[in-house]
């Protein structure tokens, strides 16, 4: 606690992190509020509707090997995103070890897993649209299901897509020695990692509140 008071009262930068990292954290804080508004909005329309809420377990179920498996695709998407979070964490570590080659390959793997996730989401969207789910109506229950679904997963998918581009840009800069000319500082890999882990973090909440609840 005295550390907190001293950090704020001393005549110096408060957080003891590079400004880029502080700004990424502040951006992620604002993004937290955007996603929270979507999830709280979803909560209130789900409470307020008098129509039955569609059972996500059935709506997102898939048939595999002749058996009906609930939430199958969503479970696979979850594991893909977690795997990408692990490769990202290792990339950050390798960055600080100045292992450019490993950092590049791990970031590339993260981007590919992210792209896989978006691809699976596109498949999921097409499937639901083919079954008649629209933002204003759906055959399985309350109309608000569709609007919440497209809004929340769409905004999250947009974040993943932006993250894939961001990862690729930084990965190739690491590979090309861009940061060597700037004193060999690989803090940027950690900042990119913060964004990527946040996208995974949001998915944890979407998975719990939208798909499981």
């Amino acid at each position: 606690m005295s550390e907190l008071v001293q950090d704020w009262s001393n005549d110096k930068q408060v957080f003891g992190v590079p400004w880029g990292k502080a700004m990424m954290w502040i951006f992620l804080l604002s993004d937290t509020f955007i996603f929270s508004c979507f999830l709280v909005g979803y909560m209130s329309v789900r409470i307020a509707t008098t129509d039955p809420w569609p059972n996500p377990s059935e709506v997102f179920g898939l048939e595999a090997f002749g058996v009906q498996v609930p939430l199958l695709l969503i479970a696979i998407m979850t594991f893909v995103l977690i795997t990408s979070s692990g490769t990202m964490a290792l990339a950050v570590n390798m960055g600080y070890r100045k292992n450019r080659k490993m950092t590049f390959w791990l970031m590339l793997a993260t981007a590919l897993l992210g792209a896989t996730f978006v691809g699976m989401q596109a498949f999921e969207w097409s499937k639901l649209i083919a079954e008649g789910v629209r933002p204003w109506e759906n055959p399985f229950g309350a109309a608000q299901f569709g609007s919440s679904f497209f809004m929340i997963t769409g905004f999250h998918g947009m974040h993943v897509s932006a993250g894939v581009i961001y990862l690729l840009v930084i990965a190739f800069r690491v590979k090309n020695g861009f940061y060597e000319k700037r004193g060999g500082n690989y803090e940027i890999v950690e900042i990119t990692g913060l964004y990527w882990h946040f996208v995974d973090l949001v998915w944890v909440f979407i998975f719990a509140f939208f798909y499981l609840w």
Binding site: M43, E58, T78, L194
Partner: protein, 114 residues
């Protein structure tokens, strides 16, 4: 620490990665349970354990200074008030709809799978 960057032993990341897989498996397993207070409790427990691990270990928040922890993790607490108010509002709207429009007559179709 700040000058050196966030440099930690690789072992921590492997453990956290493994834990995320196991916890996600548990999360998915709750979908096979019957609805009820226990299921809701487990969904929330696994969710917060995963979220905590990601923020604390993968995002290195556990190693940051208290000033940054408070600045970033403090404001979202205000969301609890929003959740509380919106659930009150949601329940009120539902009661009003039942009062004026009556109970729902919606006949849902079972999802088909191909």
């Amino acid at each position: 620490m700040a000058e050196e960057g966030q440099q930690h032993p690789l072992k921590i990341y492997w453990i956290m990665w493994g834990a995320l897989f196991v916890l996600s498996g548990f999360s998915y397993a709750t979908d096979f349970m019957d609805d009820g207070a226990l299921r809701t409790f487990l969904i929330l427990t696994f969710m917060f354990m995963k979220a905590g691990g990601i923020v604390w270990i993968f995002m290195h928040m556990g190693w940051e200074r208290l000033a940054l922890k408070v600045a970033i993790l403090g404001p979202p607490v205000a969301l609890l008030v929003l959740i509380w108010l919106m659930s009150l509002e949601g329940n009120y709207i539902e009661d009003t709809r039942v009062e004026y429009y009556g109970e729902s007559t919606f006949e849902p179709k079972e999802p088909e799978h191909h």
